[in-house]
């Protein structure tokens, strides 16, 4: 084994990179350390890249033209990547991630194809077959991830419609295409066939499957698909790592492959779905999509997630209603307010004139809990503040925040002035169940994109949020 200085520097840098990926991921799964975790992983990546170039230069392994091309490629990628990542609006983040994931998948497919070119085993022993298998798997998974991610991006951008899901038998056609692709790959693998154009056909089949695999999946499920393709690219990177015998690629790839798979499962669980249900939705969801009012889905939130949203907000408004009075949650709510203020969050209360069962009901309750009077906002003041509020927490109120009063002339409460909580960036509704309020009217606010439901008794829910914030 080569034990020169360059090799030592290289392998030691890869060790540092692998550790930085592990710690980076760990830190990224906690809100307080997430941003630093991202920086740690990025620094490790920089070390690995520099060490690789340094090694190639020190060992005199490449012509100057190639070094020039590498530096040019890194430069172009860095400038374009930074520009795209900076420019994209917050709402378009998922498709941007999908696009970057596709780039990674294409990169794996390309370097696997290059490796086919370099790969000339003297005898076809077990090692040769395993290495060729790694090359083919890297090509396959990388290609699927590439084309699938581009389709996912197009769906989220609204450039590709969901009508593909309605083609009869598309899932069966996909299964057949996958079988053909795998069968063909197996054939050239077993025969040890290294002819370049035959591998290119395999690459083409994989690209095609990536497209047809994502096409029939509904646009709303794209975040899950992106997460799945993300773990695919990780797995492909690990296979390429075996082919290149490169420890940083092996560890980084396996970590992302397994963490990405778990993350995908967690995401489907948060949607109350199974992964199969998402991927084969074209068949499974066929019957339920006929709801004439269109799809109405609510999203739930745990007290722990609510705690994080509140603790890292700049401005929070509480909207208390009759449910607060029933649960006698005013003292707990004041506790939460003080806790958030200590963390630098601006907290206010919005009081609707008819919140509760009598005018002033809420003012009395909150005064009893020693909430300072200047924290209470009246209807007009509150409605001016909502658009700049990060999180609105609605505690046992319903009709007084129902947008139907403004938007639906057929609603019995049409014309009633409401607290426009729906204008806030995020809304958390604490409520015991989905039952309509006092007026018996359904509330469209509960089904909005930026609304999260926390089904629980108001007092219990607030106490759990307080506990979760203290543990942050």
């Amino acid at each position: 084994m080569d034990s020169g200085l360059a090799k030592v520097i290289l392998e030691f840098s890869y060790l540092i990179a692998a550790l930085s990926f592990i710690f980076g991921l760990k830190m990224m799964s906690h809100p307080r350390t997430a941003r630093r975790g991202n920086a740690v992983a990025a620094a490790g990546m920089g070390v690995a890249i520099l060490a690789t170039i340094l090694y190639l230069v020190m060992e005199d392994l490449m012509p100057m033209t190639n070094l020039g091309l590498i530096i040019a490629g890194l430069g172009i990628g860095s400038v374009a990547g930074t520009w795209a990542a900076r420019k994209v609006p917050m709402t378009a983040m998922p498709q941007m991630v999908s696009l970057f994931n596709g780039m990674g998948g294409a990169c794996v497919a390309l370097i696997s194809l290059v490796e086919v070119y370099h790969f000339h085993p003297e005898t076809w022993d077990l090692y040769a077959y395993l290495e060729y298998g790694s090359i083919l798997l890297g090509t396959l998974i990388g290609s699927i991830s590439f084309s699938g991610s581009i389709i996912a991006w197009g769906k989220l951008e609204g450039k590709i419609s969901d009508k593909w899901a309605r083609i009869k038998g598309i899932n069966i056609m996909n299964a057949l295409l996958l079988l053909v692709t795998l069968g063909y790959g197996l054939y050239i693998w077993i025969n040890g066939d290294l002819e370049f154009f035959k591998v290119l056909i395999f690459f083409g089949l994989a690209i095609l499957y990536g497209i047809t695999f994502v096409l029939p999946i509904g646009g709303a499920d794209m975040p899950v698909v992106i997460s799945l393709l993300n773990s695919f690219t990780g797995t492909a990177a690990a296979f390429a790592g075996f082919a290149y015998d490169n420890m940083a690629m092996i560890i980084g790839g396996i970590l992302v492959g397994s963490a990405g798979t778990l993350l995908t499962i967690l995401m489907t669980r948060a949607m109350n779905r199974s992964l199969m249900n998402v991927l084969l939705g074209a068949i499974v969801g066929g019957g339920s999509a006929t709801d004439e009012e269109g799809e109405k889905t609510i999203k739930e939130v745990t007290p722990q997630d609510a705690a994080i949203m509140l603790a890292y907000a700049n401005k929070v408004i509480f909207v208390p209603g009759y449910g607060l009075a029933v649960a006698q949650a005013q003292h707990a709510l004041h506790e939460l307010e003080k806790l958030l203020e200590e963390r630098g969050v601006d907290v206010k209360y919005a009081i609707h004139p008819v919140a509760g069962r009598m005018p002033g009901h809420m003012n009395v309750l909150l005064a009893e809990a020693d909430v300072p009077y200047d924290k209470l906002l009246e209807l007009e003041q509150a409605n001016q503040e909502f658009p700049t509020t990060d999180v609105v927490v609605i505690i046992g109120a319903n009709d007084v925040v129902n947008p139907a009063a403004e938007q639906d002339p057929s609603s019995p409460i049409y014309g009633m002035p409401i607290l426009q909580a729906y204008k806030a960036k995020n809304v958390i509704v604490i409520k015991r169940s989905l039952r309509p309020g006092y007026a018996g009217i359904d509330n469209p606010l509960f089904y909005m994109d930026n609304t999260r439901m926390l089904f629980a008794d108001a007092k219990k829910a607030i106490e759990e949020i307080i506990k979760a914030i203290q543990e942050l």
Partner: protein
């Protein structure tokens, strides 16, 4: 059969590494709150950009007169860099909302 036994014994280190890394990946993010799902996915996305190293090696070893390999290698470097740099920058932007606030 002997081939497999020989393979197993001479690659024990790698077998252990693969299995432990698989479990580590699961373990390291098992307690992630829902609100961090998207940034974490994005961060993991940037990490698999480590294939850029493969791209650099592929381009470095491409013979000067082989236009196909030079093109593939160059594309791989550009795409891999996009994955890494774009991935980390976009993740950082998502995580800006979690920055520490100054206490009064």
């Amino acid at each position: 059969m002997n081939v497999w036994i020989e393979f197993f014994l001479s690659n024990l280190d790698m077998i252990y590494i693969v299995i432990l890394a698989l479990f580590l990946g699961v373990e390291v993010i098992s307690a992630v709150p829902t609100i961090l799902h998207t940034p974490l996915m994005s961060g993991a996305n940037a990490i698999h950009g480590v294939v850029i190293i493969g791209g650099i090696i592929a381009l470095a070893l491409a013979p000067e007169n082989n236009f196909l390999l030079l093109t593939f290698g160059f594309l791989a470097v550009v795409l891999g860099t996009l994955n890494v740099v774009g991935g980390f920058v976009v993740t950082d932007r998502m995580l800006e909302m979690f920055k520490e606030k100054k206490k009064q």
